[in-house]
């Protein structure tokens, strides 16, 4: 029981500290992130195709994922 209380206390501290963290990269500092060279799937028609070719030859599948990050870098 004591361990559980300690764990809950630590989690509570973490939650509080997370709340106190503020976004540290301001929108006006995201110009480079929005540059198209940063995009992983810059051309959907082409990038989708090469992913298809790979997966056709591999058993692995999934988690190709999306980009994002709120920088409007799409």
């Amino acid at each position: 029981m004591k361990k559980i209380i300690t764990l809950l206390f630590i989690l509570q501290l973490l939650a509080l500290s997370a709340c106190s963290v503020k976004p540290w990269v301001k929108p006006y500092h995201r110009a480079k992130l929005a540059n198209e060279v940063m995009q992983y799937d810059r051309d959907p028609i082409s990038d989708g195709y090469i992913h298809h070719v790979r997966q056709a030859r591999e058993s692995a599948r999934g988690a190709e994922g999306a980009g994002g990050g709120g920088c409007g870098c799409n």
Binding site: E36, Y40, I45, D47, A63, G68, G69, G70
Partner: protein
Amino acid sequence: MVATKNISFIYRYFSLTLLLSASNLLYAVVLPEERADAMYHRYDGGGMVIDGPSILVRKNIAEKYSIAANYYIDSVSSASIDVLTSGASEYTEERIESSLDFTYLEDKSLINIGYTTSQENDYEASSFRIDFSQDFFGDMSTLSMGFSQGNDDITQTDNENFSEKLERRHYRIGLAQILTRHLIANINYESIIDEGYLQNPYRFILVNTGTAYNVEAERYPNTRNSDAVSLKLSYHLPWSAAIKSRLGYFTDSWGIKSQSIELDYSQQLNKRWLVDLRIRQYQQGEADFYANAFDIDSALQTFVGRDKELSEYSSFSVGLGASYEWTFNHRIEKARVNFQVDYMLFDYDNFHEVTSETTASFGIGNEPLYSFNAYALRLFFSIWY
């Protein structure tokens, strides 16, 4: 003759199309760009040539809605190692895929729904998907979630009595996080559940009797659950360039595990030219029920398969790309012509090149390991409006 048609190639191909068309649309909570692309694609390697066109058009409405349509054709001509092993002739076929996506933007949220169909002479598939993404933490973070449901109808050429079904469900979640002014990270997880007919009606296992190979139908489990996770990092270099990496890990209920690593470099040379360079390494272990050749006893086990995509192997690829851009002050904002090519090497660790010639030359069970190289090119024209 279509005796060894590579149906597993096709359904894997299709399943990823569903995934990517959804994820590409959900690229942060802004509407995707209004653009149209027309592409010629060609894959050539391992005795297979697959080429065809693809058209992708997107139109946004009232800065809240976006509609995208894709039409895609694969024209396949195959004399792959599977065809050669069976002694069958080269075959040709065509697959047509079309998809439609609708995206809705509301404040910091984006919702996408889409539908895709794929048709060929002995395989029909359809899928519905829904994805949601949300920006938070000062727009430094984007959380995305999605679900897809796919239903496939499988038939067999020259066998009217064969009819099977396959159902597939995808569950995915991802987090994109801005870390610094130059670095963004993206972590994704996806679980896929297959239920139904998962083997290939055209493929066979080899049973080594000591003096000859007998062939028997493959027997796969009717379920497959897989988990995949990936971590992507994109870093903007001090000049107009970026270096990007992707690490991937995969495991499934058939005992297959794989890892991949990819490095990309993109450079804006000037206002018109943009070039890309990438390398990628992939390796995987074999499925629990895979064997290049079974002996008479092991061929009696419940599940058996000889699909080389279930074997242990590695691949390495190098890719190059270049784009040239024109800008306009009219209804069309800009246009680009793009060329991308990837050269791939595949080395199999326990899949052998079994043909009547190699068996005669090297002796049964001593055929050389299989390897091949291939290229995949894309030539496409894009306009933004």
